[in-house]
């Protein structure tokens, strides 16, 4: 790299920053990686009617295997990832992804099992799913589990549709779903898709649900309250019993968004708090790798009164009459013609590959290990909070309260006013320090929010280094705010024109004919 010009702020060279080229711009006509197996049957013409036969083949890349590997490996190097650095993205629970899970999920008995295989020849998979249902029921404190939803948002949709079925079965037509201002943004979107009107509930001065506002809005037109506890402010709502009693008092259901479950395992369970329906984010609390934005899985656990409406299929255990070992089956009709099931939410029976990883994690940790997870997650968050308050507490104060659960929200408002740099600038400058920034500008109730969740798998040294980096950025801005405003400098690209991208969308490569 000697001899190349490098940026004054970085070790990057012009070469490393050359124009991005896509796989479609690589290769050459007739170059290839794939070699088709031999045609071992007689070739017959005209099997597809002319009108249905594709005239022009899709313009896919034409490249050799080495070119493809090099292209994607080089692309991978333009990503920040959890295996290389601290990723304190609030409410996303970026904890270590154990590699054992990848190994066991790849065993052919799991990975090459067809979803429609006869259940008698998929006993291992069904046993695993049944055991996972039982484990999640214990963790949630709710007796019935459906593994089917594909993601947190899908679990939410399942939960609100279950609520709808529950009320409909009682002959009630309710129209509203309540969510607090601090709710995950998928909550209100889900409510609309399930045909309800969203009604916001205010927060009180401590960041919890404003119980008076809730009481004023809770009536017999309300179907459900959707709540995250601890909330996205990292605060456990001390009024949860009263909230549950108000909601149940008007005949509504109480829905638990499980995004923040990592904070409470071994201490409290959604079922203990009075929730009727819970979704889990297996990609958060239970280590399914995030994959750059999926896959995940969003199983749900429910109380007895919601159970009749669960999606199908359900994994069931059957005790054989002859006293032998139990067998496992997919109950696909959930009561046949009498079924009250809301039906199917997707194809087949869920993201099994995610279940394998989750099950391996639960078997590795056991109940005691899961409690340790929450204890260290909360310890780490409070320690990092203490370090940041000590160093930059005046510029970036804690938004609510004194302590936190597994995550906390700082407000960048004083920093913006006093130093002229915004939360966004801090986030971008953190990239130059080798850290992934926290979640920014969420929750919406905090001005210039930074939502920080360190998780239990980070060491004290990492937390110290992160606090030092934030302090260095603030100190630097005291001298020269322009540095943060123009950050980052060391990344493969600098700040990108997002407004321009949305105005004139280019969402695919332009290809020659």
């Amino acid at each position: 790299m000697t001899g190349e010009r490098s940026d004054p702020f970085t070790s990057q060279t012009e070469h490393q920053r050359e124009r991005a080229t896509t796989i479609f711009e690589k290769g050459a006509p007739r170059r290839r990686a794939f070699r088709a197996p031999e045609l071992d049957v007689p070739a017959v013409e005209g099997l597809i009617p002319a009108a249905q036969r594709r005239g022009t083949p899709p313009r896919l890349p034409e490249a050799s295997e080495p070119e493809i590997v090099r292209h994607y490996v080089n692309l991978s190097k333009r990503n920040f990832d959890l295996d290389s650095g601290f990723y304190p993205l609030g409410s996303c629970t970026m904890k270590h992804n154990p590699r054992l899970h990848e190994r066991v999920a790849a065993l052919p008995g799991h990975a090459r099992l067809h979803p429609l295989q006869d259940p008698r020849r998929a006993q291992g998979a069904l046993e695993l799913m049944f055991n996972l249902q039982e484990s999640l029921a214990e963790i949630a404190g709710l007796p019935h589990v459906s593994l089917q939803p594909s993601a947190g948002s899908h679990g939410e949709l399942a939960g609100v549709l279950l609520t709808r079925a529950y009320h409909a079965d009682r002959g009630e037509q309710r129209t509203k779903v309540l969510t607090p201002d601090s709710a995950h943004s998928t909550n209100p979107a889900t409510v609309t898709m399930a045909g309800y009107e969203v009604v916001k509930v205010a927060l009180d001065a401590a960041g919890g649900v404003d119980v008076d506002d809730l009481r004023a809005k809770a009536d017999d037109s309300v179907a459900c309250l959707m709540l995250t506890n601890p909330s996205t402010l990292g605060i456990f709502d001390p009024n949860i019993e009263e909230i549950a009693s108000i909601v149940h008092g008007v005949g509504a259901t109480l829905y638990y968004d499980g995004a923040n479950l990592n904070a409470i395992m071994g201490y409290s369970r959604p079922g203990d708090m009075g929730f009727d329906i819970v979704h889990f984010n297996l990609h958060k609390t239970f280590t399914q790798p995030h994959g750059g934005g999926g896959p995940g899985a969003g199983p749900i656990a429910v109380s007895d009164r919601i159970e009749p409406y669960l999606p199908r299929p359900q994994v069931v255990r059957r005790a054989p009459s002859n006293g032998g070992p139990p067998t496992f089956d997919l109950d696909d009709d959930r009561g046949g013609s009498e079924s009250k099931s809301i039906g199917k939410l997707r194809g087949f029976q869920g993201n099994y590959g995610v279940f394998v990883r989750t099950y391996a994690y639960i078997r590795s940790l056991g109940g005691e290990g899961l409690q340790d997870v929450s204890e260290v997650a909360v310890l780490n968050a409070n320690y990092l909070l203490a370090r940041l308050r000590e160093k930059v507490g005046d510029r970036l104060p804690l938004a609510f309260g004194e302590r936190c659960m597994h995550e906390f929200v700082l407000s960048g408002a004083p920093m913006k006013k006093e130093l002229g740099i915004r939360t966004l600038d801090v986030a971008k400058r953190l990239l130059d320090h080798g850290f992934h920034p926290p979640t920014v500008y969420f929750p919406l109730v905090v001005d210039e929010a930074l939502l920080i969740e360190p998780t239990e798998t980070e060491t004290r040294e990492t937390l110290d280094a992160f606090a030092d980096a934030i302090a260095a950025i603030v100190a630097e801005a005291e001298q020269d705010p322009e540095i943060a405003r123009n950050a980052p400098y060391t990344t493969p690209v600098r700040r990108l024109d997002e407004a321009g991208a949305a105005k004139r969308p280019r969402v695919r490569e332009v290809l020659p004919d």
């Binding site: 249905q52 295996d83 099992l113 067809h114 549709l161 750059g292 934005g293 302590r403």
Partner: protein, 471 residues
């Protein structure tokens, strides 16, 4: 207990001191006594890595996978060969472990993969706009119906009976929330009944949904269906098997407004049904109503080419209850597998592979339907899957075949009461002529044995081998 935490006694003392509390338990004081668990979580104790591996290995061994038998089972997921570079790239830390690309400066790799994926899906489907993927196939069909509702505010959806039963069932579930009504259009000799469709169409129909090829393998006339639907201003949603689109015309070139479907056949493993990815492509005018993530091209502060998540005003974190969907993640890793697979296949490979499967499917269909007691269920052209009628109990025939190490396919009666005697057979490049000949031998013998009335005896045999270890 095999944990992944790192707090030593010394760490703990320093940390508690910095926080200003005496114990970890104190940090949980905010949780009211009334909602506390008050006992340990009741789960089996944690085990070391090697013990967990052994247990997961034991469970895997109780499944009969596509590695253990010659399988012709398809019906929505297919045993295609997954090239080694797909595994290798999907397991790289840099693709496996990041979150959604919220910070584009350090996510150019993932964003560019999405952009490339969108380009490949756009090419396959013949539509200009693709999102970065959705959960999976059947829910993609449901998401498409929601887009139709947002677009034309109409309340009825017509869905062909040739659409995957899981897609139809998912649509029924979601339609309750959408406030839409779903009506089914039957099959006529293997394909969507056009006359019935024309009768059912009206100006209250939001969308017509079909599948190409349909569930029983037949190639649909997408253009004819689209013309009928468009005559009433309805959108046309085509669920397609992307692997067939090297040889079948792109539905986007035949009038489909939305082309969606299950992406598993593109380099994703079976995984007992997931995770895979759903693809979602549309005409230009629907770009601002699309669900999910979309990557777009832009430039950075120095004018360098780069990629960002774009059109985010559609999404929940901006629009909240007015969002075009509640879907906030794509299936990024699975979509990476998809675009790597498509790059590996290449422009010629996708045609060659499609052609190979087409020819073997034809060979298998003719060979099997020549057997005594076996007939074609329909005569429509097929590409990769076809339906047969057996003059014998399908369940028992399947049992006999399984005992001989062959999974003969999917009993259509599981989803279609009118096809109780139907068997759906899928062909991939992993099923050679020799495998097909073996199926013919085994299936022929099974049907013959059942017709000869030996059914009861075999059923007893099968029951006794329950809890099977078929290795």
């Amino acid at each position: 207990m095999a944990g992944y935490t790192s707090v030593t006694a010394e760490d703990l003392a320093i940390m508690l001191d910095a926080i200003g509390v005496g114990s970890v338990e104190e940090l949980f004081d905010a949780i009211p006594v009334g909602v506390r668990l008050g006992r340990p979580i009741d789960l089996p104790p944690g085990e070391p890595e090697q013990a967990v591996y052994a247990e997961l290995r034991r469970l895997a061994a109780r499944n009969v996978s596509a590695e253990d038998e010659i399988t012709f089972l398809g019906a929505g997921m297919y045993d295609h060969y997954v090239p080694s570079i797909v595994d290798m790239l999907m397991s790289r830390s840099e693709f496996l472990t990041p979150y959604t690309p919220y910070q584009p400066e350090v996510s150019q790799g993932g964003l560019q993969v999405m952009f490339e994926y969108q380009t490949a899906i756009s090419e396959l489907t013949g539509l200009p706009v693709s999102n970065a993927s959705v959960y999976e196939g059947p829910s993609a069909v449901g998401a498409a119906a929601y887009l139709a509702k947002l677009t034309n505010k109409r309340r009825r959806v017509l869905v062909g009976r040739g659409v995957h039963p899981h897609s139809r069932a998912t649509l029924e579930t979601l339609a309750v929330g959408y406030g839409m009504e779903v009506a089914e259009i039957g099959l006529d000799d293997g394909v969507t009944d056009l006359a019935a469709l024309r009768d059912a169409l009206g100006d209250d129909v939001s969308a017509v949904i079909l599948q190409q090829p349909n569930f029983i393998g037949a190639i649909e006339d997408v253009q004819a269906i689209a013309d009928a639907a468009h005559g009433h201003g309805a959108l046309v949603i085509c669920a397609a098997d992307p692997l067939t689109l090297g040889v079948l015309e792109a539905p986007g070139n035949q009038g489909a407004d939305l082309v969606v479907g299950e992406g598993q056949s593109l380099g994703n493993r079976l995984d007992f049904g997931g995770p895979s990815f759903g693809f979602f492509a549309a005409t230009e005018k629907h770009i601002r109503s699309m669900p999910g993530r979309i990557a777009g091209e832009t430039t950075d502060a120095d004018g360098r080419r780069g990629f960002v998540l774009t059109l985010q005003t559609r999404e929940q974190h901006i629009r909240r209850e007015k969002a075009t969907s509640n879907i906030c993640t794509s299936q990024a890793l699975n979509a990476l597998g998809g675009v790597v697979y498509l790059s590996w296949l290449g422009r010629r490979g996708i045609v060659e592979l499609g052609e190979l499967i087409l020819q073997r499917t034809h060979y298998a269909r003719e060979t099997l339907s020549a057997l005594d007691g076996v007939d074609k269920l329909h005569d429509c052209p097929v590409v990769r899957e076809f339906a047969l009628r057996l003059d014998a109990d399908v369940g028992r025939v399947l049992e006999r075949c399984a005992a001989a190490g062959v999974n003969a396919g999917y009993a259509l009666g599981r989803s279609y009461e009118e096809f109780g005697d139907g068997l759906l057979v899928a062909i991939t490049e992993q099923r050679s002529r020799a495998d097909i000949d073996r199926l013919a031998e085994v299936l022929g013998a099974a049907v013959a044995a059942e017709r000869a009335g030996a059914g009861a005896q075999v059923a007893a045999q099968v029951t006794s081998s329950e809890g099977l270890s078929l290795r």
